[in-house]
Every structure is written in structure tokens, then in C-alpha cells.
Amino acid sequence: MTAIRFLVNGAPVELEAPGMRRLLDVLREDLGLTGTKEGCGEGECGACSVILDGEVVVSCLVPACQVDGRIIRTVEGLAARTPDGRILDDLQAAFLATGGAQCGMCTPGMLLSARVYLDAGGGPDEDAIREAIAGNLCRCTGYTKIIEAIALAAETGRRPAGA
């Protein structure tokens, strides 16, 4: 067992865990953050994607010993907390608006890959969006509505405040 400290969605976390425990299991089993899904468990499908120090990674392939001292963002950290409750991230609102989610299994990973893409200045260009989510498999939607959602969020994010 190793003492591991990191930030999840802005909150400090400290736990004792085997160093080779998958970050996916730390999040879901140890911390109860079940928004992160397990799909294939071998780095192929992207369902367990989280943001680690600003980069999207698959949490099934990250051992706990490598997240000590680092910053993690999961789908639970996307919506902003306010005194009046939670305000959905632009991307979440866009997925709702376009029907970008069906069964929901790929959605958290799609949202986080898209978040990193938009934060890096990505725009509504379809080819660029397809490359950004190439590591996230969806078995329901055929991707069209997901791509529409990300393009919509890219447009929303670019609008000046108050517009």
C-alpha cells in the first residue's frame, strides 16, 4: 500500500492504495466517482477517459502510483458548482441540445476528450473534432450528433460574454 495524494475536481484526496491499482478503480471503487465508466479495460474504447494534468488519458491504463501529486478532472467536475446549484458545462448543454448521448456509456469520456480539445483552442471543424474523439468509441449514435454537439459548444464558447 502506498499513500497517494492528488486533486480530483479541485478537491484534495489522500488515500492508501496499492500502487498498481488502476486509476479507474481508485475513482470508481475507492472514491465513489462512478461517472467514469469502464468499457474495454484495455485502453481501446476511451469510456474511462479522464483529464490528468490537462491531458486526456484512459484511466484503465494509469496506475495509482503515477497520479501522486497530480491534478485529475472527471466528468463530475465539468458542471460548475454555484450557490444555486450546478450549471452545466457548455459541452454538456450542447450534448443535451443535439441529442449527443444515447446509452451514456461513452458520454463522460466524449465530454472530457472534447473539453481538452476546446480548451486547447479547437474549433467547430469536423475533421479536427473527429481526430480529437478518435480514441472514444460510441456504439449508439454513429457520432454525427456527438460531433454536432462539440461543434455547437465550440461556437457557444467563442461567443463573447453576454451575446
Binding site: 502506498t2 496499492p18 500502487g19 498498481m20 491499482r21 488502476r22 478503480d25 479495460g41 484495455e42 485502453g43 481501446e44 476511451g46 477517459s49 490528468l52 491531458e55 486526456v56 488519458v57 484512459v58 484503465c60 491504463l61 494509469v62 496506475p63 502510483c65 503515477q66 476528450s113 481538452v116 481526430e131 480529437a132 478518435a134 480514441g135 472514444n136 468509441l137
Partner: protein, 285 residues
């Protein structure tokens, strides 16, 4: 639940070497291969793991003495972003861009690709064609292994059990042309059916090819050089006749197998076709 073997995280290379001198440990860098093994679905999980992630001396890309040096812990994403790579060896960034998708490129490392020794390892044919030298180290010191002596059998390297891949040195050669192609089921997240890297030296377009190096992945039990085809191309010009002959030679030279990802026949035909096309494009006809 996956197996959770004990793991040590050394803070520097001397500490890593001390641990390796005590007992064999399976290294983990980006984890894109090893973390699949702990699920027990592919091969047996390791007994003890050595976490390399804090060995910062193994990170980074440098250009000196006509060589590009890439630290073993350098990720594919770092290679893609590197201005040095873009200026001095853009084909390396091109190859890194074909690995997995962004999640894998953010974690997977060049040293990991080398040490994992998959016959389908995407960057390995390129390292062979570029005549890269793999620098390794352990408790008994460092040594250099030419890429064509590194992958010695199926998933087996020239590394001793207590050695780590430290960095890769790639000689930069004026007038060298390099081409890289990967063929998979889809563009992202695909394990290759064929990987091809071709390098040659040529003063101008009319000139004969010299120092031809052709390397292939996914067509043998390890990444290989296609030496008969190299000999065929040596001293030739990029004509239709050359392309036809080289395609025929490489198809006869390789012995791919049928497996879950492709068939021997497909691999042979695609390898020949890619090579034909590269020669056609180089000849401008």
C-alpha cells in the same frame, strides 16, 4: 479485478539500477501495454513492477552532433509537439501521430514501444530504417545497441533482465529521404496490419538511390529489415521498372502469417503496393 503487483517508484536512475540489481522487475512507463497485462487477459501479469515515471533524466528531445536524441520516457504527444522533431526529422512526428489516439499518445512512450518489442510496434520499423541506436543501462553501466540488433526474436529484445532502455539516438543525414506508412483497420486505435519505413540517400531527383534501408512491421515475428529488397533498390532510379521489381522482390522476401488482424496474403500484397507507390511518388510519375 486486475492483479495489483507490488511496485517501486525510484527517484533517479541510480536508485532504479540498485532496485534492478536486487531482483528482476518489470518496468512501467506510460502503462499502455503493461496495464493491459495486469488484467490477466494478455499474457501473465508481472510479479514486481518498477515505475519509471519519476526518472526525469529519461525525458526530452535534444539535437547535438548531427544526431537527434529522444529520451525513453518521451511520449508520442511530446514527439508530435516538438519543434526540434518538426525541423530535423518530421517523419518521426508523422509516425507518432499514427499510434493509438490522443489518450494513448499522451501516455505511451518511445522507450516503451521499443522495450515492449511487439512485432506490430508502430515506431520500430522507422527506427530500423533510420539506423537508430538504442542506448540501454543497468547496474553494470550503459551500452549502445544498433536497432537492427535489438529485436532478436518474438517479443524478445537484447536487453538483459536488469537493463532499461534509456534513450534513442537517430543520426541525421543530409539528402536522406524517409517515408513511413502504417496500414490498419481504421486510422486511429488500430494495431497495424503492415508498417513500412523506407529511407534512402539521393542528391537530386535524377540521382540513383544509395544507402537504401527498408524496414517492416507486422509481417514477421519481430520488426525486420527487408535486406534483399534493399539490395535490389540500391543504385537504382525511381522508375516504373524499379517499382515493379522492388514490389515483386519484397513480396517474395517476407513471410507474414494469417492472424486475427489480417491474412498473410493481404499483408504481402499491401506491403508490395505501398512500396510501389512510394517509389512512384518519389519518381514523380
Amino acid at each position: 479485478m486486475p492483479v495489483e503487483p507490488p511496485v517501486e517508484t525510484p527517484r533517479d536512475l541510480p536508485e532504479a539500477f540498485r532496485l534492478l540489481a536486487l531482483a528482476p522487475r518489470t518496468p512501467i512507463a506510460g502503462g499502455t501495454d503493461l496495464m493491459v497485462r495486469i488484467t490477466g487477459e494478455i499474457g501473465s501479469p508481472p510479479d514486481q513492477v518498477l515505475d519509471l515515471s519519476r526518472l526525469d533524466e529519461l525525458r526530452g528531445i535534444a539535437l547535438a552532433g548531427g544526431q537527434l536524441t529522444v529520451g525513453a520516457l518521451t511520449t508520442y504527444a511530446e514527439i508530435r509537439r516538438s519543434g526540434l522533431v518538426a525541423r530535423s526529422l518530421p517523419v518521426l512526428a508523422e509516425a507518432a501521430a499514427t499510434v493509438g489516439a490522443v489518450q494513448i499518445q499522451n501516455r505511451g512512450t518511445l522507450g516503451g514501444n521499443i522495450a515492449n518489442a511487439s512485432p506490430a510496434g508502430d515506431t520500430l520499423p522507422l527506427l530500423l530504417a533510420l539506423e537508430a541506436v538504442i542506448e540501454v543501462g543497468g547496474p553494470r553501466g550503459e551500452r549502445s545497441i544498433p536497432a537492427d540488433q535489438f529485436w532478436i526474436a518474438y517479443r524478445t529484445t537484447a536487453l538483459a533482465p536488469d537493463e532499461l532502455v534509456l534513450r534513442v539516438r537517430i543520426p541525421l543525414v543530409e539528402a536522406r529521404q524517409v517515408r513511413f506508412r502504417k496500414v490498419g483497420t481504421r486510422r486511429a486505435q488500430a494495431i497495424s496490419k503492415v508498417v513500412l519505413a523506407l529511407a534512402w540517400e539521393q542528391a537530386d531527383r535524377k540521382d540513383r538511390w544509395g544507402h537504401v534501408r527498408l524496414a517492416l512491421g507486422s509481417v514477421a515475428d519481430r520488426p525486420i529489415r527487408a535486406r534483399s529488397t534493399e539490395l535490389y533498390l540500391e543504385g537504382s532510379r525511381a522508375t516504373l521498372e524499379t517499382a515493379d521489381g522492388a514490389a515483386e522482390t519484397v513480396a517474395a522476401e517476407i513471410r507474414p502469417i494469417d492472424d486475427v488482424r489480417s491474412t498473410a496474403d493481404y499483408r504481402r500484397q499491401v506491403t508490395a503496393r505501398i512500396l510501389h507507390r512510394i517509389i512512384r511518388d518519389a519518381g514523380g510519375w
